[in-house]
């Protein structure tokens, strides 16, 4: 895996993956499947399917950005243990890299560019919001 990362694009992080990483960070020691899902849903008001989330978590863990450990088994999960996630040092680097590239891009936009933007483009009309609302 390490070889893969070093030869391929450095610190590649998808949009949803970045959201997951950030949420894991927000939840700190309480980041497991359901809590991450709820946190994203409440903070970003977008719906997240278990499948999408677990896929992202697995991929991030495979990439070495997250590490996991088994938590205690509780009554309410029919005795199934929780799998808690934590950001690794590599994960942190990836997040920082992601953020810095965004910032760079933001700062590179000439001020004048905003003047030509149509005023209708607001946060409420983002189409993917509608698409993801099936299971909520």
């Amino acid at each position: 895996m390490a070889k893969y990362i070093s030869t391929m694009k450095k610190y590649q992080l998808g949009e949803f993956e970045e959201v997951v990483m950030l949420t894991v960070g927000v939840l700190y020691k309480d980041a497991y499947g359901v809590s991450i899902k709820k946190e994203i849903e409440s903070r970003l008001s977008r719906s997240v399917s278990v499948g999408a989330l677990q896929t992202a978590l697995k991929r991030l863990e495979d990439k070495g950005y997250l590490k996991s450990f088994e938590g205690e088994a509780t009554e309410e999960r029919a005795g199934r243990p929780k799998k808690y996630f934590q950001i690794t040092a590599l994960g942190k680097k990836a997040m920082e890299y992601s953020k810095s590239t965004r910032d760079e891009l933001w700062s590179a936009i000439p001020k004048v560019a905003w003047k030509f933007m149509s005023p209708q483009t607001t946060a409420d009309s983002r189409p993917w919001l509608v698409d993801e609302k099936i299971w909520n």
């Binding site: 497991y32 499947g33 359901v34 899902k37 399917s49 278990v50 499948g51 999408a52 677990q54 896929t55 697995k58 991929r59 088994e70 309410e76 999960r77 029919a78 199934r80 243990p81 929780k82 799998k83 099936i134 299971w135």
Partner: protein
Amino acid sequence: MELKNNVPPQLPLRFFRWFCHPKLLKYIEGDLIELYEERGKEKGKRKADIKFLGDVLLLFRPSIIRPIEGYEQLNNYGMYKSYFKISWRNLLRNKGLFAINISGLAIGIATCLLIMMFVADELSFDRFNKKADQIVRVVLKGKVNGEIIKEAVTAAPVAATLKNEFPEVLEATRLRRVGTPKISYQNNTFRNSQAAFVDPNFFSVFTLPFIQGDAKTALLLPNSIVITKEQAEKYFGTEDPINKLLEFKDVKEQYKVTGVIENVPANSHFHFDLFASMEGLAHSKEDKWLESNYFTYLVLAEGTDIKAFEAKMPAIIKKYMGPQVAQLGMTFEKFQESGNKIGLFIQSLTDIHLFSDFVGSSELEPGGDINSIYIFGAVALFMLLIACINFMNLSTAGATKRSKEVGVKKVLGSRKNQLVHQFLIESFISTAVAMILGVLIVTVSLTLFNQLSGKALEAAFLLNPKVLGALLALGIFISLLAGSYPAFFLSSIKPIAALKNRFSNGGKSKGIRSILVVFQFVISATLILAIIIVSQQMSYIQDKNIGYNRDQRIVLRESYLLGKNENAFKNQLLADPRIESVTMSAFIPAGPTDNNMTGVWVGDTKEDFRRTVIYGIDPSYIPTMGMQLVTGRNFSEGSESENDKVIVNEAFVKAFSLEGNPLGQSINQRTDNEGSYSSLTIVGVIKDFHFRSLHEPIAPLMMRNDPYGGLIIKSKTNEMADLIESIHAKWQAFNVEEPFTYALLDELYNETYLAEQNMGTILKIFGLLTIFVACLGLFGLVTFTAEQRVKEIGVRKVLGANVFQIVSILSKDLMVLVAISFIIAFPLGFYLMDKWLQGFAYKIDIHWWVYIVAGLSTLLIALFTVSFKTVKAALANPVDSLRSE
């Protein structure tokens, strides 16, 4: 109720447990249950159930699903995967052996496939007829005054008589050839359609589907005609052909098109383009039993015993032919007593193509030959066998190198059948690769093969489900056959022996390998023998003095179309200094020709009549054709008195026992049925020449001074193209509507033996391939031997052996095997080739030196193959081989 709310729906859960990656299962399941319980409390069970199902379905994605070869499974997929991996690596490690193995097998499979396609096509002849198994043909065989009579045609009344006499004859139909008449529709005139007269019920016997018109009624009326689709397009283009009139120019009769059929399938024993109604043919209704012109087909009731039916024929002959024989002046009983036989025989429709042995013009079309089917089938089988044997040999040989691998595996707990599987998988991989290669070779070489075999085979044939099934079965069979020996042999090695490398290739496996090598070389040597004999016979045909000269002779068969102008044309040709002579005759000793036969007798012995071929020639025929008079004289030019003179061939003299004084004898020929006859006087005897193929003995022949038909030109120049160009120009000056056609006599001659030549070429190609494959095997074996004995060779070299000694040590064993194979190959080859030569009336003798040549060349080829490896092994530096260990 409360409790039930806590339990998620079982079906999705079970599904999830089934597909989920085991490492993730308990955590995700926990998440799902947590969410389910929460939702159940908030929104009720139903909604929670649906959500749960949705979550499970959305979890069904690649990163969550357990991998196929997976994780802690209970099956052996992983094991098999490793077999494939090991097999593939092993095959790649021995690239040379692998290539030899695969290419040998691929060539074997390709050859086998090609030949199977050829054989399948040959066997499919006439099978397209729905009643194929019930249709028979009535043929005529007999012996009259010492002459063998064999005709595929019978007398006109035979069909109707058999139908009336026997209830088991459900249908009887006849066909009479017309040849290629000149036919026109408006401005379209052609002379290249094969036409035949057929009885109205012809199409209810043969399955030739109608596109237009009705099979039952199309030919009921005289002058109606059914044509093929191709002909309809040729004459009428896009017009509707029905009820159009086709004019037969030669007889100035018009035929109305009443039906259009699909083209006659390629695998039919006849290929006519036009079927005219026989209703208008007066001759077909006459009760003449002594003239044979009609191909007669019967549909027999299902389950009719052909032999029993055939046994009823003599009575029919006696009842109907008897009285007519008696009219000739001899009662039928007396006719039979004097050793004459004549009879009708029954031939199955499906046997016509391959088994019919009616020579020359008596048969509708030259058929196939069952012997060539056997020969090709044998070649295909042997080729495949050799390839499989190679495969077995090489795998066994190569596998001994892997005894350590087997030992280690066994120590680590491999069971015997696991090892068997591993070796079988290797065999399957190689076979699959070879199979694919083989099919590729077939597709690529099909065009060439079609050219040689005169077939129109298509690669699409291989996609037929039955063929695909057969291919698959063949593949499995080959892999089992080739893989079984190494698989079972190696898997039974004792691990300690294997690891100590005490395992040797042992006496048993060596014995089997020796037998296999002998077998391969029996086949190779037989094929070399066959190739030599076939080429000898072919060059014998080429070089045989056939009694006339076929070089620089141009044949203009159609020049009679010039009519009155033909003589003027001939004189113009004679004026050309490049032309030595021109003769007018419709009789050509090779290729399409007029063919007249009549019964004649010499002197007063009326009963001893024999059928004789009659040639109509002019005085320049004999010099133009380069024939030789043995005694007597040629016809003299421009004399009326020559019309009752005749020149006969030596075979005629012999048949009538006229040796001594043939000249002046009178030959009598019947002119009607009442007993009047005309007499001809022999003025010359011509040296026998072959006017039919060399398959047939030279028959009695007489030549009359009766020139008609086309022209044969003897040219002085070798610049044929120029000469033909100028002849063409002269032809066009006469303004005939016919196109100018010509042929070269030597080409016509060669075409007669095209089938044999093509068979020879096919045999050569396949023979060489077989030998090549056998040599591949030998090469593989010697490679193995050299590697096994590398230390021995090293020691020998150190002790002073020279290269020659080492080469001979390595080759000796194999050469002995090759020599042994000759003992079996030569009698076998002699037997087979002698049988093939029986088909020729004029043939070579098989000389003793042929065996020496075949043996030496096989031995040399083998030695040459082996030398690649042995010399290399002998030249190797002993240090390299002795250094290790």
